[in-house]
Symmetry: C2
Subunit: 338 residues, 2 copies
Amino acid sequence: MGVIVPITQDKPKMAGIENLVGQMASDMERVNAMILSRTGSEVTMIPEVANHLISSGGKRLRPMLTLAMAKMCGYEGEGHIKLAASVEFMHTATLLHDDVVDESDMRRGKVAARIRWGNEASVLVGDFLLGQAFKMMVEVGSLRALDILSTAASIIAEGEVAQLAAAQNVKTNEAAYLHIIRSKTAELFAAACEVGPVIAERPEQDHIACREYGLNLGIVFQLIDDVLDYGGSSAQLGKNVGDDFREGKITLPIILAFAKATDPEREFWQRTLGERDIQEGDLEQAMAILKSHKALEGTLERAILYGNKARDALADFPDNEIKQALFETIDFCISRAS
Amino acid sequence: MGVIVPITQDKPKMAGIENLVGQMASDMERVNAMILSRTGSEVTMIPEVANHLISSGGKRLRPMLTLAMAKMCGYEGEGHIKLAASVEFMHTATLLHDDVVDESDMRRGKVAARIRWGNEASVLVGDFLLGQAFKMMVEVGSLRALDILSTAASIIAEGEVAQLAAAQNVKTNEAAYLHIIRSKTAELFAAACEVGPVIAERPEQDHIACREYGLNLGIVFQLIDDVLDYGGSSAQLGKNVGDDFREGKITLPIILAFAKATDPEREFWQRTLGERDIQEGDLEQAMAILKSHKALEGTLERAILYGNKARDALADFPDNEIKQALFETIDFCISRAS
């Protein structure tokens, strides 16, 4: 998309997650088998809907983080497999419910489940997966991990409702926005990371460090998603460019542009996002305004900042292959928009 | 409504749940306070939506059963309060999601939350309540209770999906229908009852007995609900008479009538329920057909049968005030349709 990052910034390398994927490959195979077995049901619509989404090629970043953290913390048991699968189920349930909320037509480059099976199936299969997620956590038997993940479930829903309440309010400020994305996106990254040191029975400070890494990586992830919504290709994004715009979502690029807006621009944002009166050519004009105020660059700058916080959080862990892969994951998330 | 029960049957007394309510009053006050405190959120839409439903005068039968079972089993701790509140939250979440699935306009005699706040809010506040339910269970700290309730959450969703798949299929048989209502309704009654002996650390046979009571009571409850849908008043039911008919739901009264149907009647059911082509006067005709085949009486007879099973399940518990109140609760559920 060609966002220009000022040279004075730490420009992230184009980076991949191959290193993380490679190191977690054998454990991820077990997680995938677990996922497959736990979507099984004699009610055939359940595996159909669940697998439509689960097998559609998401990166499975969140469960990989659970595995990586457990491994980095020296965990040698079996519980990380089920916890990782739980984390992916929680994520999938959120996606299914989000599609109903957003009235999305596409998800991960495929037709959204709600279009193919109806809103009902999306809601109920999401509920089924949440139930299965908790069942797996219970099987692992760590009350602390259960506490972290059930708290995350509440906070995620709270963040989604807050986003609903903020939608169409063009006066949403950066602090309110950050609060929302912390809850709706970053909290699950944080929880996915925190349960690693928890089941490895590491001291409290390691829980905090891993959680901080996840939380900041999650913020990076969402900021970049918000940038891509105004500039990625449909294929890269797996959903339609301009979805946030059409849904009246107030994301950071909008907030930054609104702060610098001329009077006619404020009127434009009020009409399109505030009143959702969107006409032919409005998306193009929105993108032109964002460009003129360098709003996507501003968002990317903040992503880099949070990426640095994620990196700093792991300072006390010894340098090793896994830590290196976790650092590369930060760069990967940022480089999606570079 | 005037269903006539054959005299040869055990005709249930008109009965109330005042006895149960009275004995559980002080604990229920604590459950209500817990419910109120756990719907709190700085995101104001959450308590608004949650309390719209929670404060709308449901009987809170399920949490009362948890309290009663814990008490009957001699439990003296504090965990039953949070478990009872969890059970009510799971139920409320199900109702919120059901309304989206059924496209209902009314719930407990009030406008459904989805009409007032939108489908999105119903889905997300339901998710929030599920998260809070699990948080409370974790606080109680019984992995066994967590297992029972998380398993129930999966089974409930599975039952709802199965119902979705069976909708409009006029050839659904009694066994398939029973399997669905066991899952979607009776399972939560069963789980609500089972956690009582579990936290009281009673022997396994008591877990099974309490669970059996709850499961059979839940079946009674749903059978009577299905009867009332074709004969209760809107006020008695808290929803619209004929909702099941309009939604193409195949319930036991329909299955019994379909088994005895004439050819024109089969065509009628196929058009109205199978194809959901419903015209003026069809609901009245459906009710007339159900009457001619005594389909509501047949459903009520089965409810009485399951009520007896619920009663038998408690045979090994000593006779006392609580057991008496639990028996009266069975009669109460049946007498709603008598």
